[in-house]
């Protein structure tokens, strides 16, 4: 029983974890703002109740940027109301959250295009353009 006589039920407990994480985020954001290293917190590795998670999400709030990724399943990223603090939620099979983390970084790395992907895209684009500009062979154009 809790102090007020109510019976605690599943997922109903606020453990104070959200506030602990807010302290860590505040410290790390200060370090980043002064030119220090980015930081990440893996939320799935921390035993949090649903209420803890909801509290953290509410405390961090929503900021100016929200992104949806369609890569090996869906992902949703948003910058919180604190500039440089990002919430990153990757979904796996179905709608289950496969990984969830807070990143304290100017831009999450997953948003940047990788050099090799750009190189492959450049090759593909140039092949496609070359194909589009190829003259139509004579024998085929003869009976048009």
């Amino acid at each position: 029983m809790t102090a007020d006589g109510a019976t605690p039920t599943l997922y109903d407990i606020s453990t104070g974890m959200a506030m602990s994480l807010m302290q860590e985020i505040a410290e790390r954001l200060g370090i980043l703002a002064e030119g220090g290293e980015p930081h990440a917190i893996d939320l799935l590795g921390i035993p949090m109740s649903k209420r803890d998670r909801d509290e953290l999400e509410a405390m961090l709030g929503r900021g100016e940027v929200e992104v949806t990724l369609d890569v090996a399943g869906a992902s949703r990223l948003w910058e919180t109301q604190y500039s440089g603090v990002w919430w990153i939620r990757h979904f796996g099979e179905g709608e289950r959250v496969a990984s969830e983390r807070i990143e304290i970084v100017p831009v999450p790395e997953i948003l940047s295009a990788h050099r090799l992907d750009m190189a492959a895209a450049a090759r593909r684009l140039s092949d496609e353009l070359a194909q589009a500009n190829e003259p139509i062979p004579q024998e085929e154009s003869a009976h048009v």
Binding site: M1, L10, D42, D52, R96, R101, E109, H114, A120
Partner: protein, 354 residues
Amino acid sequence: MSEQETIGELLVKRGISRRALLKYAGYLASVMALPPTSSTAMAQALANARRQSVIWLSFQECTGCTESLTRSFSPTIEDMIFDLISLDYHETLQAVSGYAAEEARMQAMKENKGKYVVVVDGSVSTKDGGVYSANAGKTNLETLQETAKDALALISVGTCAAFGGIPHAKPNPTGAVPVSDIITDKPIINIPGCPPIAEAIAGTVAYLVTFGKIPELDHLGRPKAFFGDTIHDRCYRRPFYDKGLFAKSFDDEGARNGWCLYEVGCKGPVTYNACATLKWNGGVSFPIQSGHGCLGCSEPDFWDRGGFYKPLSSWTGGNAAIIGGAAAAGAVVGAASALLARRRKASASGEKGS
């Protein structure tokens, strides 16, 4: 497909972007409890690695371990493990059979001599020369000895391969033993569980491919990333234990309110596994969340340990003070942060389990 091709080259060819690899590396870092900031370096290492040749041997087993690994078929990050390995032999999954299948195993062993990984699920029968389990005209014992000879390492998947499991349970009519009783000159990673969690199997293989080495193991050969904490340490019902709130029987008020299942036989406090965090069936639930205590299936001899519904206190000598002590010592505010602080590594565990 060329064995010399890197995973990065293979992914580019398949039109899978580096973002997917980065996402997968982040997922792996999460399930393996590696620093979240390590995912960039992991993605890079994976991209530069070659696919790992894997020979999978199934002995005295129920195929539950393979079922566990292959549950996910949609193109999501969970299946990217199959881009990291070259599964060169697996009786249940391979299309070929008979001589062609055995030829594939011999060829993989020859081409990747000293570099392939042997995954074993199932225990090995040793009684009467191992005649109780055989295929392709060879006993499992012979096949294991032959295949392990030139392997880089072995992974015992499931409690049967790791500790003997159910075939090893009394009276053990086939003389079943774990892989580690037969192979003593190769590194062996144990990933027990009945079955093991898919992420623990995939994560361990991915770690081998990424870092080219065996992950840190506990005293029973289990990767600490997955077996470093007890179920109890990471259980969402732990705050109830700390507050002294227990279900006394199934379907009583405590059970309905989701209180701690310690008194109805939960083996969570002495069972090292990641069920409470990674969960099962795509993260849907795990036994305790479904209202049943942990059976302790990732520990040696779990089948013969005195009854699934007997509280640990009676099992360890009927000391009711353990329960009373737990109730009195708990009741702290901020239990989850305290729980984190108590995160134990297997080396700190007193229980050997057998």
